[in-house]
Symmetry: C2
Subunit: 634 residues, 2 copies
Amino acid sequence: MDASPVAQDANLGKRANTILQTCFFAISGILPKEEAIDKIKKAIVKSYSLKGEKVVKMNFNAVDKALENLFQVDYPKVITSETSMLSAMRGASDGFVTEVLEKILAGFGDELPVSAFTVDGTFPTGTSQYEKSGIADFIPVWDDENLCTQCNKCIAICPHAAIRSKVVSNEDIASFPTSLKSVPAIGRPFSKENESYILQVSPEDCTGCDLCVVVCPAVSKVKENFKAINMHKKIDVDVEENINWDHFVTLPYYDRTDLQTTNIKGSQFLEPLFEFSGACSGCGETPYIKMITQLYGDSIMIANATGCSSIYGGNLPSTPYKKNEFGRGPAWANSLFEDNAEFGLGMKLGLTKKQEIAVDLLRTLEPLVGSELVEAIINNPEDKEILKKEKFAQIDALKIKLESLKDNEDAKKLSQLTEYLRKKAVWIFGGDGWAYDIGYGGVDHVLSTGEDINILVMDTEVYSNTGGQASKSTPLGASAKFTIGGKKTSKKSMAIQAISYGNVYVAQIAMGAKDLQSLKAIQEAAAYPGPSLIIAYSHCGEHGYELKHAVSQQEKAIDSGYWPLFRFDPSQPKGKRFKLDSKEPSIPLSDFMCNEARFTGVVKENAELGAELLNQAQDEVHSKWERLELFRDL
Amino acid sequence: MDASPVAQDANLGKRANTILQTCFFAISGILPKEEAIDKIKKAIVKSYSLKGEKVVKMNFNAVDKALENLFQVDYPKVITSETSMLSAMRGASDGFVTEVLEKILAGFGDELPVSAFTVDGTFPTGTSQYEKSGIADFIPVWDDENLCTQCNKCIAICPHAAIRSKVVSNEDIASFPTSLKSVPAIGRPFSKENESYILQVSPEDCTGCDLCVVVCPAVSKVKENFKAINMHKKIDVDVEENINWDHFVTLPYYDRTDLQTTNIKGSQFLEPLFEFSGACSGCGETPYIKMITQLYGDSIMIANATGCSSIYGGNLPSTPYKKNEFGRGPAWANSLFEDNAEFGLGMKLGLTKKQEIAVDLLRTLEPLVGSELVEAIINNPEDKEILKKEKFAQIDALKIKLESLKDNEDAKKLSQLTEYLRKKAVWIFGGDGWAYDIGYGGVDHVLSTGEDINILVMDTEVYSNTGGQASKSTPLGASAKFTIGGKKTSKKSMAIQAISYGNVYVAQIAMGAKDLQSLKAIQEAAAYPGPSLIIAYSHCGEHGYELKHAVSQQEKAIDSGYWPLFRFDPSQPKGKRFKLDSKEPSIPLSDFMCNEARFTGVVKENAELGAELLNQAQDEVHSKWERLELFRDL
């Protein structure tokens, strides 16, 4: 049976579980068919009645449709394909990838000797590109390149870095197939005459979440429901689009030093050093990580808390983090759920020590290396891309000098540490289960130290990876495991707790609603020479709605005051430190809550309690807003 | 050598360590005497030079004086005393005390069989009274009962409950020795004609800290340096004062239901259920614990974090917590440093469950027990002493009924649980090392639950028990281990973090400066039907000054804005929730800091840095005050 169209016909969207379960019982003979169907329908009532009668009926209908659409497939009894599982890893050249990773992925990991692994336990990065899952039934295609405004909002929101744009010289694409569309590149710093803009999806890496199409502002005035990009049945377009992608990846990224990275468009021409992760389709967390790697990926170390982000961030044996063409990319590790902030602090202390040793050695070698180069290296603030590029050149020059001094012990030592003459940052990543709950003691401690560390909390307001348990971030009135009838206490105000330190940069952001504010916050946090905390709204399947609506839901979260956007920057003068980036609540909270099953489920189970909790939550929106307004005087 | 007078003559106050060390080396012959003295002087320079040249010279002088005052003691070569170590435990009647505790104290614990201990590991309370340490050289004596205002401030501040007052009927003391002074009791509800006020110290439990004398407001107008109580050389007064104390303890406490416990005077007639602990002389923590046990000791369970309070709170084998004459007192336990708040939350959940079971059983038995008694028990709010007394009587009546129903299974069960028909509270005690640092994740979690639990943080601003390491509570500019040159980051604002929840009662108090505000905060926290957090300023030997000056130092802490006093009560209407109980800073911060070695040591080590940190700290006082003023609108 072709389950996807059946699910769609039954208004179940992409959810084919009921349909496939029905087929299994219909043909396996484990239970008499009639009895099995009866039990499935009873299970549907049990599972979905909280979500409303409509959902129950849709599933009943899906069961009936499943039985109608079953047909026998006569598959060959022997393997006829010439493509083995291992060779599915297209383009891998790294020996570790072909000899170790492929074997593990193919299920033969137990056959690998210990000697096949690296001595220090590190795994190469950038290997998720070899693991083509191809799970989408529908993928976006750039249908109308002339309608496209080249805004790159689709690039920013894509959870999997599966849609990308490049600006390239016309020469570079002269020999490319015409199916790979392009248009003259518009805006600074591009040359309309000599440079072209290309937007391309990777069909096998796209998960079909629709978010790129939903966020696209380029709506046709003549053709209904038509934008610059639109979803197409993958089977109709994948051969051509795969060829296009293969050409696209050979094109160079635009020179970072020429891009205007303070706006979404410019920042999205930067190469993502986090791609094709195993995160859920439509994930609200990964766009933040991707953006950070675009901006700073070549100079950061990441301590990752346990949770979704540790799973999709290092899903052994492949990893979505990667190096750029110069061999630079994030270093990444995951410790425990309860000590990730401390783990990151340790990274930072180690980094600082190595940087001190490197500078000391450089000073010692100044008579041999030359004051000009030493001063240039030490005094380069690297706060602009062009200066960072100069630093790379300065270090290359130093390496040559050190090579000529190889009999000098200090030179030998420094040659191992030149990397630490660069500016590097530690980022600490995790979800709310870590940051608000299990690891909060550590988060608070790191913020207290005054150290220049950046913390990104991807706040889904629930333990996502472990299956939807309530955290201290879960809002009043939401249903979650351990508080299934609706949480009776408020969401904790971690932002206010952090602001209480006075010297911590704190931002609350929501990329789906205001991508530019997210970008600003990330850049300010990175620039702030002390601890930073970014609390990033992350829509999640656990919220109970189809995530292609995540953009409008995030907008409603902002407009209702459910998720105020703000930035607190201690480096600004008094009275200008706290910026409220969203407007006073203008729509009722219920307009936001009524679209998510985590809230509506509570009302369905107990209408009176649901109404009471909604009232409380609405009151809380007002009192929280009032409190935030007090902060303008900080 | 009689070391104490030598120390006093050398201006070292009670510090005889240098003197005794000198004597040891002078007579032990371990090192040649001259060499030993030389080394001691070098060690003095090393240990005390940070505290200033004056301190070094005083110690040099003490060494010389020690040598001058050495004399040979001809002690008998056989034991001549008829009093054994064991019989030093005067008045113990409990078998466990005489058979187990005494042996452990005498150093014979290893001889005890496992069977000597209780099956569940509990230890009897109220046993610190048998461990008379008698460490004071000087003790307070109530010299002028007519000068005395009967304010009881001396009782409140005493860290060891070693000075007490009682109001008793004149009949009760008619046969007492005249050395036990008394005066007509003044104020409500006492009868001047028939009742007398007595103030008495326990010479063997007093540690000679001076605080009671310092806090005494009753200064003689005719006699210089003379108050209602004054310090006397113990050896001159102890025989008589011990006799007085032995009589005093036989007198009854005043009926709780008649006392006005909302003021210091009235509250201090309540029996302390925490006495004679092993806390340091002059301890700033224990007065808070003592006050809580006076007010609520017969109905509380205490979860105690590791730290000073776990050591003096349960210094095996004796414990300072005790039962009152009705056999009711605090239940107390200490878990780990890192989980004490969670430990207390578990106590609370267990307590609630038992209370629910008890009420359910009572309802089930209503036909047999009678509705009148059942309703009386269930509806008694116990929010006044008189109602609590009624509850005891109601439960006694219930017990009699249950006894008559002993064949009924539910009655049997309920008879085990009648205690849980009472209102009981869980208190969580600990220091700043626990609350701000190691256990903060749990403190925050408990506050988030909305549960009716009370947390007391005895804030010494440093890890006291482990020897003075910096915590997140350590203020900017203070020297502590790990930040010996002066802390460069600010003290964490745990109060603001807790206030961010909106439904947590939060108070910042300082009993030495404003005992009445402390009393109010404790009573409001206990009454508030949700989580409460009290942050209690606790002077400590680690601050580096003689603690008899703690009262004036606490006053300076308030007046300089170093330690603002406030209460945030969410049960009050908006605009009245946040009360600032101290006035706008009126003296420079340096007036407070200049008296404590934790601050002055930094200046002595590095004058420039010290000045810079003082400036920063002074700025911080202003900005913190401004922030607190914003809270008036909450």
